[in-house]
């Protein structure tokens, strides 16, 4: 089964690399948005209680999460296309184990997520961000980034397997986008003035994913933030994986 997973993950990565829009967008767009927000909200560091002198360092967590979103949607669309074109039936006719399809798909998403994480961190360090948690913190950021991409990826796979439609997976993008923007991405939650927004951001799991990465960049080692970040991404991954596996079973109802 391991070999099957590797073959399918490899195919997933090859497909991504052969669609330049699928890897250029996640590499460029989150950083462009980071540039715009950092330039525009640099003055926010003057707010009393703002946790960092550098808005860039504060905002560096954002590309990791947005990049995971892109990787998820792109890979989900590819999986849905496999269903639409019947390619999944071709795979089902081989001795491939059903689980290998899902794990191979997620392996491809993780590989892309990891490459993106390396890029974001390299760019961040190159433009002057210093990690308060040191080198080990950088390693933990990679692990967390991979876990986040896995968690999101399971929901992308779930949408693909349930709907079998590329359009339906595309329509996930705005939903993820809402989760991303109604979070603590721009300001720490205690500085969000509008009450409903603060409550929504506190209920939004994405806030905790961002805050966990952010804590490693601007604070050092914050056990609570890391526990929440790892815990939530792990829980999302488990729920998403379980639901995806169930969907896969009905999608590939071979005997």
């Amino acid at each position: 089964m391991t070999a099957q997973i590797l073959h399918l993950a490899r195919r997933s990565v090859i497909r991504t690399l052969r669609q330049p829009a699928n890897w250029i967008t996640p590499l460029v767009f989150p950083l462009a948005l980071m540039a715009v927000n950092t330039g525009g909200l640099d003055a926010a560091t003057n707010l009393p209680g703002f946790p960092s002198d550098s808005y860039l360092a504060f905002f560096l967590a954002f590309p990791f999460v947005q990049g995971a979103l892109f990787a998820t949607v792109n890979a989900g669309v590819d999986l849905a296309r496999d269903i639409q074109t019947g390619f999944i039936n071709r795979l089902a006719l081989t001795p491939m184990q059903s689980g290998a399809l899902l794990v191979g798909h997620l392996g491809g998403v993780i590989a892309m997520g990891f490459l993106q994480a390396v890029w974001y961190l390299a760019v961040g360090l190159a433009i002057g961000v210093r990690l308060e948690s040191g080198i080990l913190g950088g390693v933990v950021i990679f692990v967390l980034a991979v876990l986040i991409v896995l968690a999101f990826g399971t929901f992308g796979a779930l949408a693909a397997l349930r709907s079998g439609s590329t359009e339906a997976v595309h329509s996930l993008f705005p939903v993820f986008f809402v989760f991303l923007f109604i979070s603590s991405m721009n300001l720490p939650r205690n500085l969000i003035e509008t009450e409903w927004f603060r409550v929504a951001a506190s209920l939004n799991p994405v806030s905790y994913l961002i805050e966990a990465i952010r804590s490693l960049v601007i604070e050092g080692w914050n056990a609570q933030a890391l526990a929440l970040g790892f815990g939530i991404s792990l829980a999302l991954a488990v729920v998403g994986l379980t639901l995806s596996a169930l969907s896969l079973r009905s999608r590939m109802a071979r005997t």
């Binding site: 099957q4 195919r11 497909r15 052969r18 074109t85 019947g86 006719l93 001795p95 491939m96 109802a253």
Partner: protein
């Protein structure tokens, strides 16, 4: 001869009680080409999906290559190759990459994959296009690659679901040649669905005609046509002559048949075309066109279902 495919009372019902396949029986001996003929939506693809283990049947049983399609799915899949209706290919991969992936998933060793890939590419005439992405392939090239993928692990039984739909005559003919070669040289059993009469006539050792999920006729093409028997004469009324008048004249020569464009009669031996022409002349009937048909599989379909196969499309089969 041991049956390669044995089907008993196979049923597939979809949500809402739609029966795509309503209890079919089939026996395909090893080494034969079996043509499964029917209009769109008749239940051909649903049957193939069940026999290839992609869709569990609602009732009935089937053995493919000696294995039960429900209880021994993995063993069935090892025995068969299939090129399904949609040439399910990844437009971003090359032909060679497709074959290597397919072979890898079938557990073929890395050292053997290269050689087998080249061999298959050569066989389907795609050696020169092997390293091009599928997105740039023509319909015929995609079908040929599809066939190569189905043959990758040397299956004993091959399912081809409408393999030539949408192909130009040249590509169609090349595919027919390959199917015949597989049977002749390698003894592969081929279960081929088609909506083309000619295809079933040319290729199949035996033909099953499916309509509304039921097999309405089965046998060799020759025996099926012989069952229909004598030729049919079809006449179109000209100016000043009514259908009813023509009907009255032609009915003297045999049993009237359904016809979409005029009046048709299956000659019963009381007279041939000459006698029909004389009778029409004697009655001073004006005839716009007169055709003599030797029995074809379409006549068989017409006789069994009351409709012509051409254009008798049914609502699409529910998604399998």
């Amino acid at each position: 001869m041991k049956g390669a495919i044995e089907v008993r009372g196979l049923v597939r019902e979809f949500k809402g009680g739609i029966k795509a396949v309503s209890g079919i029986d089939l026996d395909v001996p090893a080494g034969q080409i079996y043509g499964f003929l029917g209009p769109n939506g008749a239940g051909k693809s649903t049957t193939v999906h069940m026999l290839t283990t992609l869709l569990p049947p609602t009732a009935g049983s089937a053995r493919v290559g000696g294995f039960d399609i429900v209880k021994e799915g993995p063993a069935v899949r090892r025995t068969i190759g299939a090129a399904l209706q949609e040439a399910a290919l990844d437009p971003l991969l090359t032909g060679r990459e497709h074959l290597k992936l397919q072979l890898a998933l079938h557990g073929v060793r890395r050292t053997e994959r290269g050689g087998r890939t080249d061999e298959l590419l050569e066989r389907v005439g795609l050696r020169l296009a092997a390293d091009r992405k599928i997105g740039g392939y023509s319909g015929g090239m995609k079908r040929r690659l599809d066939l190569a993928l189905a043959l990758a692990h040397r299956p004993r039984i091959l399912f081809l679901d409408e393999p030539t739909t949408g192909l130009d005559p040249q590509s169609r003919s090349a595919l027919w040649d390959e199917v015949v070669r597989l049977k002749r040289d390698e003894g592969v059993t081929v279960f081929l669905t088609t909506q083309y009469l000619e295809e079933a006539d040319v290729l199949a050792d035996r033909v099953g005609i499916i309509d509304h999920g039921r097999i309405v006729a089965e046998g060799t093409p020759a025996s099926l046509k012989a069952e229909i028997g004598r030729p049919t004469v079809e006449a179109m009324p000209g100016e000043g002559t009514t259908q009813r008048e023509l009907e009255g004249i032609l009915a003297r020569f045999g049993e009237l048949q359904p016809s979409t464009s005029g009046i048709a009669v299956r000659l019963d031996g009381q007279g041939g075309l000459t006698e029909v022409v004389r009778a029409l002349d004697a009655a001073q009937a004006n005839v716009a066109a007169l055709h003599l048909h030797s029995p074809t599989l379409d006549d068989v379909f017409l006789a069994k279902t009351g409709r012509s196969l051409e254009g008798s499309e049914e609502p699409a089969e529910p998604e399998a």
